[in-house]
Symmetry: C2
Subunit: 414 residues, 2 copies
């Protein structure tokens, strides 16, 4: 989207191909997974965003391959020719070679993922309320979150609040606040991308929310009933959420020469593929170094890459020589992670801080970046309501909660 | 819900069993199907509604049978005993014996139905934009709505507005306003439950929105590519929506003695089943006569029946003899049907009117009845935005639009 926007006045036709008709604001996806927001509130139709940009066309379709020699993109059974190509297919879950874990531990990348997690999470309270077995109740009332990065921290903190505040008192037998939430992180601290002080601050905040934090711990097994750890311990848990590894999600055909082990594409300093100065990879898909460090897989970095390529192409289409390209430089404007109601941590320049101020900053920044005025206002109001009342408006279990093995298997839902 | 609320101060325990964890405000379901509202905006969690009612418990489960002699309800593998039982399982689509039509012509009863229709409707524009065949484009750009009652009228009018206003200008090739919408009704006029003048007024309003209205016409065949009519004509259409027949949706076992041909349950004047004065059927499930006329399957009638049974039981639990029961009397407070932006018809007492006044009344009444303050405010704002900007916020095609045969088959979506 950033590339398309940057090309709005360039003398060219721009075609945006996406297998979804909408843009998803991923940083707030955990809010859908925990029933605070509806999918429609964190997504906008691509056609709507670009309706007034005359040189932009949208194609709803899945790109299955790229022919770099013939300069064509394969979309279904169509071939789209290109002069310049920008690849921005992002990243996907990576189970470290244990693909059998996926059905038991959904990740959080798409709306379907979020609704899957929401449905499983809400259904287990219902089941725990009805079971006569104390052992089964304990299993149902345990959530393991694998991965202590921003997504894992956000999910752990928010799920704790849902159990301790939102659902509190809604069951006649079950004490929902007895929900056990275990956050498992392989590194020595939470939020490894942030300074160590903020990691321990985050851990303290989570522990105040009754989240158990296991550091320096790796998951060795995930099945339908729980999780095995490298300490030899096993946790019986009805809900396991994968917030650990991601890898690049390149198109299927034509780019293997550029793919690294983590499936990200190796790019030149100008984000182009080696030997193909008109083909670029940006965002989570690209492995980029800037200032000697790897650019993190975060939304601001992806936005900066998109703007960089879009503006460069716009200049070149107006006649600037390709030789003038300067390398992409990532500007770290700061990193924010939220933990729960009024709790967050921030690292901006040399400043490190937490608490309500960080949370307000986080809320402001995220609402601001939500695409489109309408979403901004509605999300703001939804949050204001949720904050004031501890209510969550999107608590729907749809699809058939009794078909299949929820939790444990997939079924239709909405 | 009305029964449970009416029993809030009665000396009894009330158990509400539902296979969904939420209450759905069905009169606005067409707004979800046409991408104006998100599912979360027309639904509330049952537990949330009754969190403060101490004598009420919620059980998420599907009732598969009733044992009237043993006074037990079968929920999954559990038996719930009862002293009094109120059945309110509603109605479902009825394809007049042609169940093979269902996959090609989804109805509109659940959130899944609405999301199915939304997804099919939005995807066909994308396909029409990409096809090279004029014949295929014509098929894709045709919608047939079977049934000219309130749901059919609302869908026809709103789909026309989406095509002519919301999507207008968002496709570079396709003229979305060329969408052909055909509304097929078997009777001599639209909205047969309303006075004839309002039916013709509605028809005029729809025709101004370029909807083709076929009266006195019956569908004889529905397949993946279109619809056959009893006139011998055939309409090639990618989207067919079923808004015609409904029938009762009783539980599977134990009530066959009371089921009519239309699967509604025959009830006594006090809404109890014959010979079982402690077992009631209410809402769309019940076949009730009041003042010599059949009570219509509308939300206000269901609400009145619920309140009637709940209050009667509350009185009897406090000692009033059963012999004092007076028969249920339906009070028709008026009927409203909306057609589109600023267009509706109203029949209240002896007054019949249409236009903006009817539409404002319709909007006011529907927002008012939306359960819970939060939903009310949010829906109001969403509508205000939609009215001011012709934008629709819930335009998500989720699930995989390329898997299976959408339109024509089912796939996961959200």
């Amino acid at each position: 989207m950033a590339v398309v926007k940057a090309l709005s006045k360039a003398p060219c036709d721009v075609t945006l191909v996406d297998r979804r008709n909408h843009h998803l604001f991923q940083p707030l996806l955990y809010e859908v997974a925990t029933a605070a927001l509806s999918p429609g509130q964190i997504a906008v139709a691509l056609r709507h965003v670009f309706r007034d940009q005359e040189n932009a066309s949208i194609v709803l379709g899945e790109v299955t391959g790229v022919d770099l020699e013939q300069r064509r993109v394969l979309v279904g059974d169509e071939n789209l020719p290109f002069d310049h190509l920008v690849l921005a297919t992002g990243s996907t879950h990576h189970y470290f070679g244990n693909d059998g874990w996926e059905p038991h531990a959904p990740g959080l990348k798409s709306i379907e993922d979020a609704l899957e997690i929401r449905s499983r999470f809400l259904v287990t309270f219902e089941r725990a309320d009805r079971t006569a077995s104390a052992q089964e109740r304990a299993r149902l009332m345990t959530v393991v979150i694998v991965g202590g990065g921003p997504t894992g921290v956000e999910l752990a903190g928010t799920m704790s609040e849902v159990a301790r505040r939102v659902l509190q008192g809604e069951f006649r037998q079950l004490d929902t606040s007895s929900l056990r939430i275990v956050l498992v992180e392989g590194a020595q601290r939470l939020l490894p991308v942030l300074p160590p002080g903020l990691g321990s601050r985050t851990q303290r905040d989570l522990e105040e929310l009754d989240v158990e934090v296991l550091l320096d711990t790796r998951v060795t097994d995930i099945d339908a009933n729980g999780v095995g750890l490298d300490s030899g311990a096993r946790i019986e848990a009805a809900n396991v959420v994968w917030a650990a590894g991601v890898c690049g999600a390149p198109v299927e055909q034509g780019l293997t020469d550029f793919a690294r082990k983590d499936r990200r594409l190796e790019v030149q300093p100008d984000l182009s593929l080696a030997g193909h100065p008109d083909v670029f990879a940006i965002g989570d898909l690209a492995h980029v170094e800037s200032g000697g460090k790897q650019v993190p897989g975060l939304a601001p970095a992806a936005l900066q890459m998109g703007r960089y390529v879009g503006r460069m192409l716009a200049r070149e289409l107006k006649g600037r020589p390709r030789a003038d390209r300067s390398p992409f430089v990532y500007r770290d404007k700061g990193t924010l992670a939220t933990i729960g109601r009024g709790r967050a941590v921030a690292h901006i320049g040399r400043a490190e801080f937490g608490g309500v101020v960080a949370w307000l900053l986080w809320a402001f920044v995220h609402i601001w970046f939500l695409v489109g005025f309408r979403s901004r206002i509605m999300v703001l109001l939804d949050w204001a309501f949720a904050y004031a009342t501890f209510d969550r408006g999107a608590r729907l279990i749809t699809g058939d909660p009794f078909s299949g093995e929820v939790p444990g298997g997939r079924s239709d839902r909405a």
